[in-house]
C-alpha cells in the first residue's frame, strides 16, 4: 500500500509541472492585450503603455516570466491580481471555502440520492420506476446548468417563494467569517435562525450543481449493479438463502461501488466546471465566479493561479479516490 501511494505521489510532480506550463500558456494565448483592455475606449499613450507593461512585467522575455511565476509558486507567492491589487492567494483562500461548501453539499446530494436510485433501478430493472428514473437522469444530465439554475430560481423563489433567490445567507445576519463555511459560521455565531437561513440558501445551488453528478452516479450505479447481480457469487449468496437486502446491500453493492467511486472522483473535476456557472447564477462568492471575472478582465495572475489551484484540488481528489479504490478493492494494491 505504501509503495502504491509513493508511486501515485511521484506521478504528481510531472503532472504539476505540466499544469503550470499549461496554465501559464493558456492565459497568454487568450487574445486580448491586458493593458489595452485597461485603457478602454480612451486609448493609451505609447509611453504609458510601456510603463504599464513594465509594471506588470509583460515586457520581459516569456521564459523569464515563466521562471518568476514558477519560483514564486514554490515560495507560496501566486502573484498579485492586476485589477484588485490584492495577493491572489489571499483572495483564493477567502473564496475557496464557499466553493468547497457548495461542492460538498452538491456531491453529498448526488451520492446520497444517486446510489440508492441506481441500486433500486437495477434491482427493479425494466419496471416503470427504472424507466422513469433513467429518463429523468438523462434529462438532468443534458440540462445546461445555467438554464437549470435560472428555471429553479424562477419557479421556487419567484413563483412559489419557497427559497431565497441568491446569496449565501439573508442580509439580516451579519457575523465574522471564522471558518469561511457559512453553515458552520452561522452555528458559531449563535444568532437565531442564521443556520436555517444558510441552509435554505444552499438548497437551489446544491440541486443545480449536484444534478449532473447525480445523474451520472445513478446511471453508473445501475449498470455496475446489473453486471454484479448477474455474477456467480451473487447467485451463490442467494442460493445460500441470504436475505435479499443482504445480498444486494453487502455482497453486490460493495463490488458494484468500485467503478462508482472512480466516477465520483471524476465528477469532482466536472463539478469545478459546473461551480463556475452555478456560482455566477446564484451570486455565490466562490472561486468559480472569481475566475470568470478574472478571465474577462485578462487578469493573468488570477487566471493562472486559479487554474493551477483548481488542478491541484482535482489531483488531490483523484489521489484520494485511488487510495479509496485500493481500500475497497484489495486486488488493485498488488498490481
Amino acid at each position: 500500500m505504501i509503495r502504491f501511494l509513493l508511486n501515485r505521489l511521484f506521478l504528481i510532480v510531472p503532472t504539476f509541472i505540466g499544469i503550470t506550463i499549461l496554465a501559464f500558456a493558456f492565459v497568454r494565448v487568450l487574445p486580448g492585450d491586458p493593458v489595452l483592455l485597461i485603457a478602454g475606449e480612451r486609448g493609451v499613450s505609447p509611453e504609458r503603455y510601456q510603463m504599464l507593461l513594465e509594471q506588470f512585467g509583460y515586457n520581459r522575455p516569456i521564459w523569464e516570466q515563466y521562471w518568476s511565476y514558477l519560483s514564486g509558486i514554490f515560495q507560496g507567492d501566486f502573484g498579485t491580481s492586476v485589477s484588485t491589487k490584492r495577493p491572489v492567494i489571499r483572495d483564493f483562500l477567502t473564496l475557496f471555502p464557499a466553493t468547497l461548501e457548495l461542492s460538498f453539499f452538491a456531491i453529498s446530494f448526488a451520492i446520497l440520492l444517486g446510489i440508492p436510485a441506481g441500486v433500486i433501478a437495477a434491482v427493479k430493472r425494466g419496471s416503470w420506476y427504472d424507466q422513469t428514473l433513467m429518463g429523468t437522469a438523462l434529462v438532468g444530465y443534458s440540462m445546461p446548468i445555467f438554464w437549470l439554475g435560472l428555471l429553479l430560481i424562477i419557479f421556487f423563489s419567484g413563483m412559489l417563494g419557497w427559497t431565497p433567490v441568491s446569496g449565501r445567507i439573508d442580509m439580516l445576519y451579519y457575523f465574522p467569517a471564522t471558518t469561511g463555511f457559512m453553515t458552520i459560521d452561522a452555528l458559531l455565531s449563535g444568532q437565531d435562525g442564521a443556520f436555517v437561513s444558510a441552509m435554505r440558501h444552499l438548497i437551489l445551488p446544491t440541486v443545480t450543481l449536484g444534478t449532473i453528478p447525480l445523474a451520472v452516479i445513478a446511471r453508473q450505479t445501475r449498470s455496475a449493479m446489473l453486471e454484479v447481480l448477474g455474477d456467480d457469487y451473487v447467485r451463490t449468496a442467494r442460493a445460500k438463502g441470504l436475505a435479499p437486502h443482504q445480498v444486494i446491500g453487502v455482497h453486490a453493492l460493495r463490488n458494484a461501488l468500485i467503478p462508482v467511486v472512480t466516477t465520483i472522483g471524476l465528477q469532482v473535476g466536472v463539478m469545478m466546471a459546473g461551480a463556475i456557472l452555478t456560482e455566477t447564477i446564484f451570486s455565490w462568492p466562490g472561486i468559480g465566479k472569481w475566475m470568470i471575472d478574472a478571465i474577462s478582465r485578462r487578469d493573468y495572475p488570477v487566471v493562472q493561479a486559479g487554474l493551477l489551484l483548481i488542478a491541484l484540488i482535482v489531483m488531490a481528489v483523484n489521489l484520494i479516490v485511488d487510495v479509496l479504490y485500493g481500500l475497497i478493492n484489495p486486488r488493485i494494491r498488488h498490481t
Partner: protein
C-alpha cells in the same frame, strides 16, 4: 427567581428585536465586486459606487441628478484672472469616520487635501506605490500630472492649486472619484503600523455612510454616519448584495430581497412596469454611440460623401432593433444631459434618395467600404454586429457595399486608432465628469488624432472653439463656445451620431428620494425607505 430571569431575558430580546425592526436597511443588488475601497487607483463605476460615493467626499461635487458642480468639502473657490490659480476655501468642522482601529483626533483640513493629491502625483511620495502594482489611472488619463504645477497649503482651511495652463474642466475633474479626500491622519497611522494596504480595505472618509464590512464578492455593509457634515441620513444601514446576473437581480428585487437594482435586462422592463410593487426610473445616459469615418482617407475626406452616408442610415430602426427602443437617436456628439447641449441643431434627414444623388454628385460610384463592429456590448452599443448589419443594409439601398469586420476588443481599440485605418468604426463613449470638454476634446480634438479621435478629424475651426472653451472659466461663455462647436461638428459630419442609450433603475415603490445620476453612478445619500 429563575422564571423572573427568563422573563427579563425574553423582554431584552424582544426590545432588541424591536430595535432591529425599526432600523432602516436598504439593500442594493449591485452588479459586481469593487476592486478596492480607495477609489483613486481604479476606473470602474462599480468600484466608485462602493467607495467614493458612500464613503468619501470631494472638494467640489456634482449636483444630484445633473452634470453641474457645487461646493463639497470646499465651501467656495476663487479662480485667478489668468485662470492658473484655484484657491479652495475649505469647510470647517467636517468629521472623519472612526473604526475599531482608528479614532480621528482632528477635523478635515488642508493636510488631507494635500495628501489625497500628492500621493497620486509625486512618484517619491511614500503612498505613491503603497500596494503592489498600484497605478493612478484616472489621475493620469485626465493628464493631472502635466496640468498641476503646485499644490500649496495657504493655511489650515485654504489650499491653492496652481496649474501649468488655464483649464476650465479642472473643476469638473475635482469632483471626480479619483479626487476623493482621504484622511491624512489615518494614513499616517497605517504607515506607522506598516499596514498601508488597509487604506484600500478599511476605508475612512467624510461621506454620508461609514464602511462596516466587506465579505468578498458577496456583500458590503455601511452604516449611516451620524456626524456627516451634510446631515444625518434617513437610512440607518446600507447593504450592497453583489449579484452579477441581471435576471437573478430582477428575481431578487421582485422577491423583496433587495430594494434597488441597476442594469436590468431590456427584456424584463415590461414585467417591471407591470409589477405594482416596483417603480422604474429612467434617464438618458451620459454616453454616445457613433460611427466614425476616417476623414483623412478618400472618399471620406469629402464632407458630402460623409453627409450622404449619414442620410442613408435609418437611426430610428437602429434604436428600435438594437436598443429595443431604449435609446434616443443622437444628433450631437454630446448627450442632452450635458450642459451646453445645442438644441437648435437639426439632424441629417433620413433620405436614401437624396443620399444617392449626393454620392453621384460627389462622383463616387460603386463605393465599397468596411464597417467595424465592436466585439463587446456597451451601454452605448449593446450589439454592434447587429447595428453594423443594419447599416450595411441601409448602405446597400444607396448602392454602397459594406463589409462588416470585427476583431478582439483590445486589438479593435488599438487598430481603430491608427491614422491609416480602412473603413468606418462603430464605437462610443461614456463621460467621466459631465464636462462637454470630456466628449468634444477627448473624442474630436486635434490632440486626440491617432488615439481616441477615431475619425482622425482635425478641424481648425472646431479645435479653436474647444481650445478656447477649455481656458475660459466663465460658464456662460464656455456654453456659447461649445454650442458653436456642435454646429461645426454637424456641418462637417466626421461621425454618424447614432444613439444615446437610456439607463433604467428599477426599485421597490418603498424607496423614496432616489435621484438618478446622468454620469451613471449610484448613490444613496438622501434616500429613504417607507415602512
Amino acid at each position: 427567581m429563575k422564571l423572573m430571569k427568563t422573563l427579563l431575558a425574553a423582554t431584552a430580546v424582544l426590545a432588541l428585536a424591536a430595535g432591529a425592526a425599526q432600523a432602516k436597511t436598504l439593500v442594493y443588488c449591485s452588479e459586481g465586486s469593487p476592486e478596492g475601497f480607495d477609489p483613486a487607483p481604479y476606473t470602474a463605476g462599480t468600484t466608485f459606487d462602493a467607495s467614493s460615493r458612500p464613503i468619501y467626499n470631494r472638494l467640489v461635487q456634482f449636483t444630484k441628478g445633473s452634470s453641474d458642480t457645487e461646493p463639497g468639502l470646499a465651501e467656495s473657490y476663487d479662480v485667478s484672472e489668468d485662470g492658473l490659480e484655484y484657491t479652495f476655501h475649505l469647510r470647517q468642522g467636517v468629521k472623519f469616520h472612526s473604526s475599531d482601529t482608528f479614532t480621528p483626533t482632528r477635523d478635515f483640513n488642508a493636510d488631507d487635501v494635500l495628501f489625497s493629491f500628492e500621493r497620486q502625483w509625486k512618484s517619491d511620495h511614500p503612498w505613491n506605490a503603497y500596494t503592489a502594482g498600484i497605478s493612478w489611472e484616472y489621475f493620469n488619463s485626465m493628464s493631472m500630472g502635466e496640468l498641476l504645477s503646485s499644490i500649496e497649503k495657504v493655511d489650515d482651511y485654504t489650499v491653492k492649486f496652481t496649474l501649468t495652463r488655464p483649464e476650465a474642466p479642472f473643476i469638473a475633474n475635482m469632483a471626480m472619484d479619483f479626487a476623493s479626500i482621504m484622511s491624512a491622519e489615518y494614513a499616517a497611522q497605517l504607515e506607522a503600523a506598516g499596514t498601508m494596504d488597509l487604506l484600500n480595505q478599511a476605508p475612512i472618509g467624510t461621506g454620508p455612510f461609514e464602511f462596516v464590512n466587506y465579505q468578498q464578492d458577496a456583500a458590503i455593509r455601511y452604516s449611516s454616519f451620524d456626524d456627516y457634515w451634510g446631515g444625518v441620513q434617513p437610512l440607518d444601514d446600507l447593504v450592497f448584495a453583489i449579484t452579477t446576473d441581471p435576471a437573478v437581480r430582477m428575481q431578487k428585487l421582485q422577491a423583496g430581497e433587495c430594494h434597488v437594482m441597476p442594469y436590468p435586462n431590456p427584456a424584463d422592463l415590461d414585467s417591471i412596469r407591470a409589477d405594482s410593487s416596483l417603480q422604474l426610473m429612467e434617464q438618458e445616459g451620459l454616453n454616445v454611440g457613433y460611427l466614425a469615418y476616417n476623414t483623412t482617407m478618400a472618399p471620406f475626406d469629402n464632407v458630402n460623401v460623409r453627409k450622404a452616408l449619414n442620410m442613408a442610415v435609418d437611426k430610428q430602426a437602429i434604436v428600435d432593433a438594437v436598443f429595443e427602443g431604449n435609446a434616443t437617436a443622437a444628433i450631437n456628439p454630446i448627450p442632452p444631459t450635458i450642459w451646453s447641449y445645442n438644441t437648435s441643431i437639426v439632424d441629417d434627414e433620413y433620405n436614401p434618395e437624396a443620399a444617392k444623388a449626393m454620392l453621384a454628385e460627389a462622383g463616387v460610384e460603386n463605393l465599397s467600404m468596411k464597417v467595424w463592429a465592436m466585439p463587446v456590448s456597451r451601454p452605448y452599443n449593446p450589439d454592434a454586429r447587429r447595428m453594423a448589419e443594419l447599416i450595411q443594409a441601409d448602405y446597400a439601398a444607396i448602392g454602397v457595399t459594406a463589409e462588416v469586420v470585427s476583431m478582439e476588443w483590445g486589438e479593435y481599440l488599438s487598430q481603430s486608432s491608427l491614422p491609416d485605418r480602412d473603413g468606418a468604426v462603430l464605437l462610443g463613449w461614456t463621460g467621466d465628469n459631465g464636462d462637454p470638454d470630456n466628449f468634444l476634446a477627448v473624442l474630436l480634438g486635434c490632440d486626440a488624432v491617432g488615439s481616441a479621435n477615431r475619425a482622425q478629424w482635425c478641424n481648425e475651426e472646431f479645435d479653436a472653439l474647444i481650445q478656447k472653451a477649455k481656458i475660459t472659466s466663465d460658464k456662460a461663455e464656455r456654453t456659447a463656445l461649445y454650442e458653436e462647436a456642435q454646429v461645426v461638428f454637424k456641418r462637417e459630419a466626421p461621425w454618424l451620431t447614432i444613439a444615446h442609450s437610456v439607463v433604467f433603475m428599477p426599485m421597490s415603490t418603498k424607496v423614496t428620494g432616489y435621484v438618478m445620476d446622468p454620469k451613471g453612478t449610484h448613490a444613496f445619500d438622501g434616500v429613504d425607505l417607507a415602512e
